[in-house]
């Protein structure tokens, strides 16, 4: 399920079947052009990952709105991320996965109330090229399997 009118109305009717949530964590930093470019690319990549995984398990996964933050202040963000997670676990959701390409979250994974799924991403590239597409497909099937092991 995605965060749009149609899917959310379906979710509201069949809450008991949907117990898994994916929150993409998307950093940005406008200080350096190079970093901005990389982060913009990685944002596209991460959204693609999340939406492909959602497509596979549409009936059990809800894709949350993306969580955006300014990079480099992960410690301060922990509380806010946990606040988001708290909102969703109340609905209830049993499994919360935080998708990210930002490896700084790994050190804080114990403080977070959701499961960090760190994806080794690409620095840059062309999302339309067939190599990148097969790389994404391969990874998506592995992430999907990983999520299934939690169910």
């Amino acid at each position: 399920m995605r965060w749009n009118q149609e899917d959310i109305s379906l979710y509201a009717e069949s809450k008991e079947y949907i117990d898994t949530m994916i929150i993409p964590l998307i950093p940005f930093d406008v200080q350096k052009d190079e970093l901005m470019k990389k982060q913009a690319f990685q944002k596209e990549l991460l959204k693609l990952f999340a939406s492909e995984v959602e497509k596979e398990y549409k009936g059990r996964i809800l894709l949350a709105p993306e969580y955006h933050y300014i990079s480099g202040r992960h410690k301060e963000e922990v509380d806010r991320v946990n606040h988001w997670i708290g909102q969703f676990t109340n609905l209830p959701f049993d499994h919360i996965f935080l998708f990210t390409l930002d490896m700084n979250w790994r050190k804080l994974s114990n403080d977070l109330q959701g499961e960090i799924v760190w994806l080794p991403g690409l620095q840059s590239g062309n999302l339309q090229s067939s190599e990148v597409q097969s790389f994404i497909k391969e990874q998506v099937s592995q992430i999907a399997e990983m999520i299934r092991s939690y169910w």
Partner: protein, 169 residues
Amino acid sequence: MSDKKQVSRRQFLNYSLTGVGGFMAAGMLAPMVRFAIDPVLQPSAAGKFKAVVEESELTSEPQRFTWKINQKDGWYESEVEKSAWVYKKENGEIVALSPICTHLGCTVDWASNEEYPNQFYCPCHGGRYKKNGVNIPNTPPTAPLPLYEHKVEEGMLYLGQAKSRGSGV
């Protein structure tokens, strides 16, 4: 005076003016008629078939094939990947099933659960379907998997729209 029937000057002018006028009228009307019936002549997007796989690759075991279609969805026109589980029955009939679970839309897999080796299995809520796509009672789905329209031309399998099969079992 000869006794052959002569065309008088008046008649000749009448004929030629009618002829030329007729051509001019036709010249003006033809595009108008074409515009008026244009929507009827548009190929309907619904009936579009796409080449998916060579018929010789099909087996009696369902295999998953993917292909791309252009989909216009409100604001966006995008390329969407479609997929189908395709197999051949013993009598040679081709069956192409949509892999979208009729419960809440997950993707079903053939024989992915060891307990049900001859069924389609949905990993989300354990929905199951027989090989012909009919849902198994007492599992979450309430309708069979949709069937794709198909045709074979020159050894190539073409798939069209997936057609829902009602409420099933």
